[in-house]
Amino acid sequence: MTTNETNTRNSIRHKHILDLDELNRSDIELIFENTDSMMEVLNRGIRKVPALRGKTIITLFYESSTRTRVSFEQAGKILSADVINVSSDGSSSKKGESLYNTALTLQAMKADAIVIRHPHSGAGYFLAQQMDSTSIINAGDGMHAHPTQSLLDLYTIKKHLGTISSKKVVIVGDLLYSRVARSNLWGLTTMGANIVLCGPKTLLPQDFLDSRLRETNHPFRNIQIEENIDTALEDADVIMTLRLQSERQKAGHLPSLREYSRRFGVTSERLKIAKPNAIIMHPGPMNEGIEIESDVAHGPQSVIESQVTTGVAIRMAVLYDLITGNHSEKES
């Protein structure tokens, strides 16, 4: 009678998770639902379920990152998968060649999923092209995308504010080089948020500054750019601060970190401009004192720590969805 029949589509439609431009609203909501279940597992005494028993997950990290790699490793292990970590210095001169050869080797090993982080944009796509049955999860490729980080950001917003739709989300910082910001633009747009970008012009992608973007039906046409942080933060529901790397100052994008901090640092004073129950987020690691004041980072409105726990649950959901999803595709 009613359509309260249980949703029989559990596996997401995709073979890879390379960026959030591929996921629509119901894909993301499905991941959220599964993340709820994973959060429960994380709260148990014995954090282990047999869902991915006998599956092999390989983490391939060409950029050092303890946080994300451990997050994926933990996610895989809680689901009883065999997780194998391969890390590469990335500073060897034949970077590209070794990625290709590595891909062929991994293909022969019949891994079920590969989680890749690489300093070059498009590395995940390259890998996906070379391999036929393995799922590729992008854990960060150059400046391009970091979909699981964005998913956990979206989930965190939903958890704390109840919904993402119509919320004013202000992203502050180095947008030009940020793969987290790029993925979040897709994710937040899909989930209906109102996005404001705030940062120095030199760290903003040129085409966002182009007014012609507004006239097309580009999905990002309603994103607002606001260089003055006090204006940008008015009535914000969510403030996402991005890490400012010192290389930016060296590359001539900024006069000094001090000036950046003065103009764009999220301080307790500035926090008051936002809504009283606004949340502060940061993908980590933080430069306390530069893009974010310590008091804010550790204050009552900060959800930064919960982002880490959520990260494991999201990655569990993504690994589960992708690996079990592929199976049912193959069988049918």
């Binding site: 009678m1 009613t2 559990n10 639902e33 599964n34 709820d36 379920v49 047999p50």
Partner: protein, 205 residues
């Protein structure tokens, strides 16, 4: 209009076409095999049997299996409460992460498991709507064991449709319904579907 139920729980043979709006396939015939009144009686009997077997409600915890086992568990708890004056703990269990048949069937959406009490040493009564191959129950037992060590695990189901693939049996059964593998048994509950009934759908050959 419901067809005559032959009582005693056995129904086989002739079915007639009932156009059922919620039927997913137009070439299925659907027959109601339990009315709401019959379901109520079955649950009443099950609740009594649970109390009889366990000499009361002490140490009991009802764990409903997603998704329709959960409202059934709540109904049993209400019934027990009305007989014994004791409110039994209820929890819900999702076996999505414990299935052994992930590759074979499209899966239902997962909901988080919610068992907020300590199950160590307790008598866990699993509650589900339909018992079929027994694989869901096996997965449920694995899940329960990951949460603690109950003193016993018992199983209550509204409908047992046969075709066990594992050595699993229910302790409390509302109705035994022999079926063929092509048929499908659906339990509908007011809390979820807006009405109480059990239907069996068979493909028209």
């Amino acid at each position: 209009m419901p067809l005559a139920d032959l009582g005693g729980g056995f129904f086989f043979g002739k079915t007639s076409l009932i156009s059922n709006p919620s039927s997913t396939s137009t070439s299925m015939s659907v027959k109601k095999i339990q009315t709401d009144v019959q379901m109520k009686r079955a649950l009443t009997r099950i609740s009594h049997e649970i109390l009889e077997r366990n000499s009361g409600a002490k140490d009991l915890i009802l764990v409903g299996m997603h998704s329709r086992g959960v409202p059934l568990a709540f109904r049993i708890r209400k019934l027990i409460s009305s007989y014994e004056g004791q409110t039994v703990d209820v929890g819900s269990l999702d076996i999505g992460l414990y299935r052994d048949d992930i590759s074979e069937k499209p899966q239902a959406t997962m909901k988080p498991t919610d068992i907020s009490v300590d199950i160590n040493g307790r008598i866990v009564v699993l509650v589900d709507d339909v018992l079929y191959t027994g694989r869901s129950i096996r997965a449920a037992m694995d899940a329960i064991n990951d949460l603690g060590r109950p003193s016993q695990i018992q199983l209550a189901v509204l409908i047992d449709r046969g075709h066990r693939e594992l050595p699993i049996r229910a302790d409390y059964v509302g109705k035994n319904v022999p079926t063929s593998k092509e048929e499908d048994v659906k339990v509908k509950l007011a809390e979820v579907d807006g009405l109480d009934e059990v239907v069996i759908s068979s493909p028209i050959t």
